[in-house]
């Protein structure tokens, strides 16, 4: 049995140890916000945070997260429903088209901003490498800047 934390709550998993974290989250814990896009760590649709850093859950075996803190998109907003500034910025800039990639994009952006509170366009181009098939990159870029402003204002 593998025990770990998801969005601060303790969870356990009894299935095969090589099960990717993504499928444990989706099939077993019914947290559907992390998406399956490629299964090879390329697209970033499955991005979660592992001990606070962005991680692709499709290529992370559940056995490697034992005892660790996993945060998914469902755990990003406050419990009172207040959105994380990155989520708010995504709404403000009307980023989503199909929306499928956006939870992963947001998790990547939160990680980027945690380590660089005011990234420039180059930083964004380097770090925001998740795939968006609908081509929302222009608005993602704007939304990262906007989130950076929102977070600075809040400080």
């Amino acid at each position: 049995m593998i025990e770990f934390y998801v969005n601060k709550l303790p969870v356990s998993f009894e299935g095969p140890e090589d099960t990717p974290l993504l499928w444990v989250l989706r099939d077993h814990l019914k947290l559907k916000g992390s998406k399956f896009g490629c299964g090879i760590g390329s697209c970033g649709a499955c991005t979660v945070h592992l001990d606070g850093r962005a991680k692709k859950s499709c290529t992370t075996r559940v056995s490697t997260v034992a005892g660790k803190q996993v945060t998914t998109i469902e755990g990003l907003a406050s419990t009172d429903g207040t959105l994380h500034p990155v989520q708010q910025a995504w709404i403000d800039e009307d980023v989503s088209q199909c929306g499928y990639c956006q939870t992963g994009q947001i998790m990547s952006a939160v990680d980027l901003l945690a380590n660089n509170s005011s990234p420039d366009d180059d930083d964004i181009a380097k770090k925001m490498n998740n795939l968006c098939r609908c081509g929302t990159y222009i608005r993602i870029r704007k939304a990262v800047h906007r989130a950076s402003e929102l977070m600075t204002e809040a400080d």
Partner: protein
């Protein structure tokens, strides 16, 4: 393959008003719907309070508006209800949008669709529903005004509405829609057609509205097909034959059955070569108690495949076929004036051949579907662009009556034409039927890349004659391609060319002596509709060739286009997007993008701009691209300006999003994307070798212009794409002297300049 054109507005119009239905909801609200069939059928199908209506006014003043088309990222879930809300006259903030299921109803003479056409393809939703949904809203408003006038005992003319309220100025009285709902619901639907608001009075249409599901999406609550579940459902994956039209020879499933969680393994029969595709391929299904167990079980299968009839097909042999065919003659599909004579008399003859590859749709949500087949009915939950096709697919697998097959629509993680076909729904139905339980079928990314209805590939031969004055006097386009109607039932051989060459496209009716010819290439690669179908190929070819003509005859590429497009006038256009085409609208866009990118300004060596424009399904698009090409052939895209004219703009934010997304799709596809075949198998498999564009390749300088026209909207899902590729390759030529005639561009520049 199933493609039903969405019901158009005129069809819906016939006798429609008498079928408008008002009624009370269980909670006392007011409902108004527009079933297009008789009331008896409507009542039956609506028994038990199921959704069947577009507008519902709740007692607390909230307004629920139904949307019939699936949301695939094109923004219909926002733009369609905007049409209703505008004419209903409510605040947009009071509106909640509800996705409706497939509205199939059996009638004496077949099946009909109680919410009208529900497909998402061909950029038709806004065009088809512009009159229809505004009328739904306006009729509801009419009835609320009638109810208020009755209540106050004043003539209707003394009443008008403000958002959510009916006002009587004479009495100085006001009543909210919710207060009037019960009374309005009892009124007969008025005979007289409502009067629409003036465009200038619009409060919602034409104003930027954000995606209605934005909050659900950013919090991970939005539900896609892949997120759906059904009680007692199993999980399934299919190992499909990697050979085009190959079949299963034998399978050793002993190891697969040992994988914990695997419940069952069995073969799935694919279509015979040449037959219509109900599903794409033969395979072996693995059923399990979780997605991962199904995928692991599948990995443990040991399979021998029969390689089938296309085992020798490869991309090189495909191109050889096209050149062999082009040496002969094909089907002349348009022949204006006297092309041969005009060419013989020309001062200069210009020729070029262009190659367009197969491409994969690659929506980010891989195909998936839940189906539950029961004794006498079935339930389907699927991400689909064509819910009526999903219904038909299950009927084909089960023989159940179509009216007993319910299709629930989810939000869809991208479509691009892939989900106009419902092969994955048929597969899930086959599995559910076999195991007697609900099943969720999950495709992997590899499945999606290797098994698709790819955009058709072909070689275009262009030839033009120019006279001493530099006028184009003769023009021909000869296309050797593998068309998408291949294996589609009931298509006559002489109609196979139709989705590959739209005969009324520019420059037809502008260049007098013009011939268009098609030659059919044989290939085992499945083909289908890929965003803006043949327009992506034809825009690249025609707009590249115009630049080649301009350079060969010493003319400016922009001026050449403006001269050809000519003055404001309508030309007949008989294909999808017609009935008319006004080339002047392309000139207007071109002038805008040229101005924005400083078209005439000299630039340092290696840096230049290119332009292109194209008419797609009723909408108009243009691009200007500025690039730098280094001496070693490295390409930098410095700047992109995109412009679109889609008539009346319903949602400016949505239109810009489609223009941005379409442009990026155009860039992604032009730079890197192709599907190739080796020994009868697709070579690409996942995003590492099918490299879609990422953030770092999108230029910072990116400008969009939405330029309204007239009094009707056209769709916007596809218009922003076709002109990008030729604008880019025209810029590359101007910067480097290298003419790209083969897509994708990939490393051609480096090779040419090294």
């Amino acid at each position: 393959m199933v493609f039903m054109k969405a019901r158009n507005a005129t069809q819906i119009d016939q006798g429609r008003r008498k079928f408008l239905v008002g009624g009370l909801t269980a909670t006392g609200g007011f409902l108004l719907g527009v079933p297009v069939l008789n009331l008896v059928a409507e009542e039956q199908s609506n028994g038990g309070g199921s959704i069947g209506f577009f507008v519902e006014i709740k007692p607390d003043n909230r307004v629920i508006i139904g949307v019939a088309q699936p949301e695939i990222g094109q923004g219909v879930k926002t733009s369609m209800p905007m049409l209703v809300a505008e004419e209903l006259d409510v605040d947009w903030s009071a509106v909640t949008v509800r996705q409706m299921p497939l509205g199939i109803v059996k009638t004496a003479d077949g099946y009909t669709w109680k919410y009208g056409g529900q497909g998402a393809g061909g950029s038709t939703a806004v065009t088809d529903n512009w009159e229809y949904l505004r009328e739904v809203g306006a009729t509801a408003r009419q009835m609320l005004v009638m109810a208020a006038a009755e209540h106050w005992s004043v003539p209707r003319a003394q009443c008008h509405t403000e958002p959510g309220i009916v006002v009587c100025d004479t009495l100085g009285a006001r009543l909210s829609y919710s207060e009037l709902a019960a009374r309005a619901a009892k009124l007969p639907v008025p005979e007289e057609k409502p009067v629409f608001k003036d465009l200038s009075d619009h409060r919602i249409i034409g104003k930027p509205q954000k995606v209605v599901d934005a909050r659900e999406i950013v919090t991970g609550k939005s539900r896609y097909g892949i997120d759906a579940e059904m009680p007692g459902m199993r999980y399934a994956a299919i190992e499909r034959c990697p050979y085009l039209d190959g079949t299963l020879a034998s399978v050793d499933d002993s190891a697969a059955r040992q994988v914990p969680g695997v419940l069952d393994v069995f073969p799935v029969d694919g279509p015979k070569p040449g037959e219509p595709y109900l599903i794409l391929a033969s395979g072996v299904a693995v059923v399990a108690d979780s997605t991962w167990a199904a995928l692991q079980g599948r990995r443990a299968l040991k399979i021998n495949w029969n390689k089938g009839p296309h085992a020798n097909e490869n991309t090189a042999s495909f191109w050889k076929q096209t050149t062999d065919l082009l040496a002969g003659t094909g089907q002349v599909v348009r022949d204006d004036g006297d092309f041969d004579q005009a060419l013989a008399q020309a001062e200069t003859v210009i020729e070029a051949r262009y190659e367009i590859p197969f491409v994969n749709h690659a929506p980010l949500e891989p195909q998936n579907c839940i189906v539950s087949i029961e004794q006498d009915r079935a339930l389907v939950i699927a991400p689909t662009q064509m819910p009526s096709g999903a219904n038909r697919a299950v009927a084909a697998v089960t023989d159940l009556p179509r009216e007993n097959i319910q299709v629930e629509m989810t939000r869809v993680g991208g479509g691009f034409g892939r989900r106009l076909t419902n092969d994955y729904v048929a597969e899930a139905a086959m599995i559910s039927k076999k195991i007697g339980a609900p099943v969720k079928l999950q495709w992997s990314r590899e499945d999606d890349v290797k098994h698709d209805f790819y955009r058709p590939s072909g070689m275009h031969e262009m030839r033009a004659g120019v006279d001493e004055q530099g006028q184009i006097t003769a023009w021909t386009q000869r296309l050797a391609s593998a068309g998408k109607y291949y294996r589609r039932p009931n298509v006559k051989p002489e109609d196979q060319f139709k989705p590959e060459l739209y005969v009324d496209d520019f420059p037809a009716q502008i260049i007098e002596n013009l011939r268009v010819e098609w030659l059919e290439v044989q290939s085992g690669v499945p083909r289908g509709s890929w965003r803006a179908p043949a327009h992506t190929a034809n825009a690249f070819v025609v707009q590249s060739f115009l630049d080649e003509i301009a350079h060969a005859s010493g003319r400016d590429p922009l001026q050449l286009r403006l001269d050809l497009y000519g003055e404001d006038r309508e030309l007949a256009y008989g294909q999808h997007g017609g009935p008319v085409f006004n080339p002047f609208r392309l000139s207007r866009l071109l002038k805008q993008v040229a101005k924005s990118i400083d078209y005439g300004t000299a630039r340092p060596a290696g840096r230049a701009v290119g332009i292109a424009s194209h008419f797609t399904f009723g909408g108009y698009g243009a691009h200007a691209v500025e690039v730098t090409v280094s001496k070693a052939g490295e390409l930098t895209i410095e700047r992109i300006v995109a412009a679109v004219d889609c008539g009346v703009v319903v949602n400016p934010l949505g239109v810009e999003a489609q223009l941005e997304g379409g442009t990026i799709d155009g860039l992604s596809t032009a730079l890197n994307l192709e599907i190739t075949v080796q020994d009868g198998q697709i070579e690409q498999s996942n995003f590492h070798n099918y490299r879609l564009l990422r953030m770092k390749d999108v230029p910072i300088q990116f400008e969009t212009h939405v330029m309204p026209w007239g009094d009707k909207p056209t769709g916007m899902g596809e218009m922003g794409l076709p002109s990008l590729a030729p604008a880019l390759t025209n810029a590359i030529f101007n910067a480097s002297g290298v003419r790209i005639r083969k897509l994708p561009i990939k490393d051609q520049l480096k090779k040419a300049l090294s």
